[in-house]
């Protein structure tokens, strides 16, 4: 499996090839924000960006998603019979996705598609129909720490193709069969690029200065971490908004609602957040996560203790640093982890 070469000016060749088969999505710039959008124009494709403001998880797990519809009339013949929503009509490609975000999807696959019995059909449909073409990070942000959570700016987890930006050209590395077949027509790169990529990778990784220690978190008993005295202080400044969870590429909690109007009814699921008291509020009035401390602890315990425990060691954080950027009160996940580990 070799490397392919593509001059950046000729990105059109790749785009055309993709556009023939797929709807193409990529991060595009609007003001100071970079966000995922369907690409209609070749010129919108960006190479000079850090990462999208919001993660691309909404493309697989929309903030509001209809699960099924029904006729809200018990007397009608088809009354209350569930009607499936149509699957994704067209296959898609996500171009220039960062390795951290792609890795987030492979982690979420373990949640949404763990086994036959707990298959999330909505997630699976979109995952199956989407090709991920990654763009390695040559210049990670100050808030990035992917190397500390089992990933890398050049990570390949979850990707079909990894592209490496060499300035005027791109190196394409096929990772899956699906990816390889997409790039097979392109010019073969010399074998020396492997070492070049390796150098770039090392240089990118060395730019990540954050060091996280997680040994104690992972080795200690669950309850010991749960009862860590640090939680008494951490929650104080938290305002329990959901910004961190909505920006997080791996946060995946949702709330299910039935909505009706006249004869029409539908079930929708919406992003929800463990920061909200309502999220765990029982019909009885009891709330097992009744205080702010419970809720703040939950988010970090989930990512750094429960998920590794349940998902064969996979940490529920990919180190993208978005929560650090958006937290209104500057709760920094890097400090949280290091303090949890004390």
């Amino acid at each position: 499996m070799g490397y392919k070469l593509l001059a950046k000016q000729e990105i059109g060749k790749l785009y055309e090839k993709l556009a023939k088969q797929y709807e193409v999505y990529a991060p595009i710039k609007k003001g100071i924000e970079v966000n995922w959008s369907k690409i209609e124009d070749l010129g919108d494709i960006l190479f000079d960006f850090k990462n999208s403001s919001l993660s691309p998880k909404g493309l697989f797990f929309p903030q509001t998603e209809v699960m099924f519809e029904f006729k809200n009339d018990p007397k009608a013949e088809e009354g209350y019979i569930l009607k499936e929503v149509p699957p994704l009509p067209k296959t898609r490609v996500l171009l220039n996705i960062r390795p951290c975000d792609a890795k987030a999807f492979s982690i979420l696959d373990k949640v949404f598609m763990r086994d036959e019995d707990s298959l999330d059909v909505y997630w699976k449909d979109k995952r199956d129909k989407t090709v991920l073409i990654g763009l390695a990070c040559n210049n990670p942000c100050n808030t990035c720490f992917c190397t500390e959570v089992n990933s890398s700016p050049f990570g390949e987890d979850g990707l079909d193709v990894l592209m490496v930006d060499l300035g005027d050209k791109l190196i394409l590395k096929g990772i899956t069969d699906r990816g390889n077949s997409l790039i097979e027509d392109f010019e073969e790169a010399e074998s020396s690029v492997a070492s070049k990529i390796d150098d770039l990778k090392k240089s990118a990784e060395s730019k990540i200065k954050t060091k996280l220690s997680m040994g104690n978190i992972l080795s200690r008993e669950m309850l010991e971490v749960y009862e860590h005295s640090y939680w008494d202080r951490l929650h104080e400044s938290c305002i329990n908004c959901g910004a961190c969870t909505f920006y997080c590429p791996t946060c995946h909690c949702f709330d299910i609602q039935d909505e009706t109007k006249g004869e029409y009814g539908r079930r929708v699921r919406n992003w929800d957040t463990c920061m909200s008291w309502l999220f765990t509020h029982h019909a009885s009035g009891h709330n097992p996560r009744g205080t702010k401390k419970h809720r703040v602890r939950q988010r970090f315990m989930h990512k750094f203790k429960y998920m590794p425990f349940k998902l064969d060691g996979d940490i529920g954080c990919v180190g993208c640093g978005r929560c650090i950027q958006v937290c209104p009160v500057n709760i920094d996940v890097r400090d949280v982890v290091n303090n949890m580990n004390k």
Partner: protein
């Protein structure tokens, strides 16, 4: 970080803790990323050394007094002290349980404006004094006048000095932001009805309903917010436009006659939504019709908890 003020805050905080005047001093500590400072709770003299004062103290610390036990000292610039007055008037905070370290605000910085100014480039560090910021990136540096990148609400500030305090940090300085709020409040009034709706949509359609604006606001202390109510459910949980807009209309309306225009909502919004367009309209109407300015006076009765026989009635269909 503004060093003179920082030093004085630390001294005062340490003294209060040492003399057991308060259990905790609530202020700001230096944030882990540039242009953002973090609310901080200092319980010991040692922790008081982490307190700072800067142009990035954009939250409203009065929020933390609600339902908080013990006696707390709070670093409060004008708007925050006004929120404390409001909370005392609304019986949410007891005056004797809060020790207000009043301070002058140099006008807080709008992080987005700075990022726009440098074209979205990554900022590594920021230095500041009362007049300017020096923004430092990887291999570049830019000097920006503070007054060019203030938050919008800081330009029309009614009181930069704390209005209620037990002790004042530093000296009282020019208290007005300089701009006239009545010139900039309610910017859509001049538009046609459909243009207004378009502006309203444009402003709020990006909302992701993280509720940072609600949760950062010291006015939002209801035991159960209307968006969380389910029987009846006034506001759906979806991203449908009607649900998003219902949230914003009612959120603003619930702040009527209480909003001190501290700007915390806009500073907290990760999407950069300018929700003050709604609160500024309400507060302008209240000033004009009822002659009331929130948070200026202990014991004042909020305008929606009172009436006058001759209140204006031009909402009545003639």
């Amino acid at each position: 970080m503004l060093e003179g003020y920082t030093k004085e805050i630390r001294e005062a905080a340490k003294r209060l803790i040492r003399d057991k005047k308060v259990d905790c001093v609530i202020g700001y500590s230096k944030g882990s990323i540039p242009l953002v400072d973090a609310p901080y709770f200092a319980y010991t003299e040692e922790e008081c050394e982490n307190l700072v004062w800067s142009g990035f103290c954009t939250k409203n610390l009065a929020k933390y007094l609600i339902k908080r036990l013990g006696k707390n000292a709070l670093v409060a610039q004008g708007c925050v002290s006004r929120s404390i007055v409001g909370l005392i008037n609304e019986n949410q905070v007891k005056r004797e349980n809060v020790y207000i370290l009043g301070i002058w605000s140099p006008g807080m910085v709008d992080r987005r404006k700075v990022l726009e100014r440098v074209g979205g480039k990554e900022i590594i560090d920021v230095k500041e004094d009362e007049e300017k910021l020096v923004v430092i990136g990887d291999g570049w540096e830019e000097e920006i006048k503070r007054k060019e990148v203030l938050r919008q609400n800081c330009y029309t500030c009614a009181s930069r000095n704390a209005v209620l305090f037990d002790e004042f940090i530093g000296e009282k300085k020019e208290s007005k932001g300089g701009g006239d709020i009545d010139n900039v409040a309610a910017p859509w009034e001049k538009l046609s009805i459909d243009e207004r709706w378009e502006k309203f949509r444009e402003t709020f359609k990006e909302c992701i309903r993280c509720y940072a604006c609600r949760n950062v606001c010291p006015l939002c202390y209801c035991a159960e917010c209307f968006v969380d109510e389910s029987r009846p459910q006034w506001c759906g949980k979806t991203q449908d436009e009607a649900d998003v807009y219902t949230f914003h209309i009612l959120r603003a309306f619930h702040c009527a006659g209480r909003c001190v225009d501290c700007g915390a909502c806009e500073s907290a919004c990760p999407m950069g939504i300018k929700m003050r367009v709604l609160t500024s309209k309400l507060e302008k109407d209240i000033r004009n019709m009822y002659g009331y300015e929130p948070g200026m006076e202990l014991g004042a009765i909020p305008p929606l908890s009172v009436y006058r026989p001759d209140d204006p009635e031009n909402f009545i269909t003639p």
